[in-house]
Symmetry: C2
Subunit: 417 residues, 2 copies
């Protein structure tokens, strides 16, 4: 029709209607770049994907067969917003194994832990509110919260995780402005992106500080079960419950994505009653409830101890891959490149010599069919130009060795260049 | 611990941290009341549940078996935010059958159409922005949007759906204030809650008005395939595409919830390019992507024409139930009670004599083990005290007859009382 051409694009009803949140959404050039690298011959350290060999496919297939044979009318129907009741019950047992003592009223099911982040942003952040985040931090949290327009106050990390004196300093600075942070966000074990874990003494100190400053902590724990060396750490929420008898200062997020399969999109949130109640009200507006078929599959697959049997095999796969990556870095990288030594999880963090730009490096790496995520995306307020994140859970040990060798060549050229 | 008791509840970190959106969330007394009625002996006209006998359980089980046997590594893994590519492709075919001509770039998968509503609210509404909604309208849309704090401008309905002159009047009134609505929201076929369908001439008029006023329309169409009598209507988005060559003024939402199973939580959104692009960016922050296993099941179940074979049997079940409800109302209700005569969908709408309060009626009905949803929840700005919504898709014809008989008794007592 003629009218198609006569109306300029800028006049479309959509272009004049964006909310301020929509205008803050960022087009991710890295995401676009990485799409190009999703070819079989690219060695990708970029994603955060579990190894496909880690999926308990047969158990998931059997669980699905059982729930559809015996409970179809229930598991195909709409379900409660709080979650599939047998799964909430089972989660109390799974959480007990992490030292977290709760009853099923203290846990709700979310559509991945990503939805937990969105829910908490919606419930807690008004534009301009200060929130405390690690520097660097999980980019998906920043993405979830950007539309709510917080003011991100960044906190320094080292190999033992969040620096407590940095946190105290930030709280003091905010108090001087007459401000209080809405919450502190922390990935407490094998952090995304750095792979570092909060040390035991810092955990105690953090729970003390939370009580002292009446601070809410969002503890994101997707990787805690994936430890390959070192000593297990007690989740912050467990310490919080030990202290107060129920969750008071910590909202805890976790997920089946790294233990069963990401595609189920089944996560959970533990937290103070009032927070969970409002989260359920808000979740109704988001998606009514998390898929009951996926929840029933997770329940049916795990109710007879699958995770206890299966998780060791995931740890074994990733342990080998982590060691392959650390070994390859040791063999190939120039002396002035540093990296973290994670005791678990899926990522490690590389720091290039000052003056190198990892985004430029990525373009050169892609030419040699190697990909990673430049570090800047993980810094809420900029910085980290010479850093990058490497994933070791998805590529095989051989591909890790080869990929790091190629990457070291590119770095060497960058250092010389 | 002593400290538990020494700190008053109001001092909890959560209670002092709510966002303004959280403070707008409403505790639904009706929802709580209806929880009580979820007992087997209650005849519930309250929910919006499909009949369990309408689920193609065997086909879903077979589809799951196939995708896990042949594509486990893909369908258990993280997937693209836009949706499972084969499903997006299939949706173009399914939409063609509704008269909607698109390619797969014009459709994205959402976690139920409820998530489409949340996404559109996030992308379009700033606090105080006017939006146009039917009066009454789908309560889930109001719930999704309340946190974004729109100003709802309500538009009158009759048995032919939205009244176009009412819309024109509202646009004029807003223009006089120097305002433009962010969008018009309409459930175009077998509306929830009234069961009415927008007439053909009003569809054309609406698309004309949208062009004239550069208005964006959100067309929500979960029930369009469920027609039991009367003539099929062309979706607004199809008319929009016919006019402009591509979606320009209409964002269209639909879902597998009423055709396959709600628990998959697989819906979709069709709309202008710019809108879908930002929706994908925003969706990343919400849940990364809709469960790929559920999407793969929907694809695998439907790729060989299941919906064409299966939907007639759903129509048959609901047709009988709708007729049972209309017949029972005719037999039992007093003369001064009015109700709509839907040509499809899952609901009809009852108007009691002025002066009766359907919330009071509900309490009396519950005593006789009958439940429904009082109408007020569906009115954005109040009203409708003497109205109520009845669902006819879930209860069997016998239970419908008995439930309406009991309800009529309660109404009769209310009229006499």
């Amino acid at each position: 029709m003629q009218s198609t051409r006569s109306v300029p694009q800028s006049d479309s009803p959509v272009e004049s209607c964006w909310s301020s949140a929509a205008q803050l959404l960022q087009h991710s050039t890295v995401r676009e770049l990485l799409k190009v690298t999703e070819q079989a011959d690219t060695i990708s350290f970029a994603g955060g994907l579990p190894a496909p060999t880690s999926f308990p496919t047969e158990e998931i297939a059997l669980a699905t067969e059982r729930v559809l044979a015996h409970q179809a009318a229930r598991v195909l129907q709409y379900g409660p917003t709080e979650g599939f009741p047998p799964l909430r019950e089972l989660l109390t047992t799974l959480m007990q194994a992490r030292g977290i003592t709760i009853d099923s009223d203290h846990v709700i099911v979310t559509s991945g832990s990503q939805q937990g982040l969105d829910l908490l942003g919606k419930l807690l952040i008004d534009p301009g509110n200060p929130i405390l985040v690690e520097n660097p931090t999980y980019v998906g949290a920043l993405q979830a919260w950007r539309p709510y327009q917080p003011r991100c106050v960044t906190l320094p990390l080292d190999e033992d995780g969040l620096q407590i004196d940095g946190l105290e300093q930030a709280l003091t600075n905010l108090a001087r402005e007459g401000q209080r942070p809405k919450f502190l966000y922390i990935v407490s074990a094998f952090q995304n992106p750095t792979g570092t874990t909060l040390a035991a003494d810092r955990r105690t100190a953090l729970i003390d500080l939370a009580a002292q400053h009446n601070l809410l902590i969002i503890e994101d724990d997707p990787y805690g079960e994936l430890r390959y060396s070192g000593n297990p750490q007690t989740p912050l929420v467990a310490l919080d419950i030990q202290r107060w008898g129920a969750p008071r200062h910590v909202a805890y997020l976790s997920t089946f994505s790294k233990l069963l399969a990401p595609s189920l999109r089944v996560g959970w949130m533990i937290g103070p009653d009032a927070l969970l109640q409002r989260a359920v009200q808000a979740k109704q507006g988001l998606d009514l409830h998390t898929g009951s078929l996926a929840q029933a599959i997770a329940y049916e697959a795990c109710c007879d101890g699958l995770l206890e049997r299966h998780t060791p095999s995931i740890r074994q796969i990733y342990h080998e891959r982590r060691d392959a990556m650390l070994g390859a870095l040791e063999s190939h990288m120039p002396d002035d490149v540093r990296w973290t030594h994670p005791e678990g999880g899926m990522f490690l963090w590389l720091t290039l010599p000052e003056g190198l730009d990892s985004a430029v490096l990525l373009q050169q790496a892609i030419v040699r069919n190697v990909a990673f995520v430049p570090g800047t995306a993980f810094f809420a307020n900029g910085g980290g130009i010479n850093t990058l994140r490497l994933n070791f859970s998805h590529p095989t040990p051989d591909r890790i060795e080869e990929g790091i060798r190629r990457l070291a060549e590119v770095v060497n050229e960058g250092v010389r260049g």
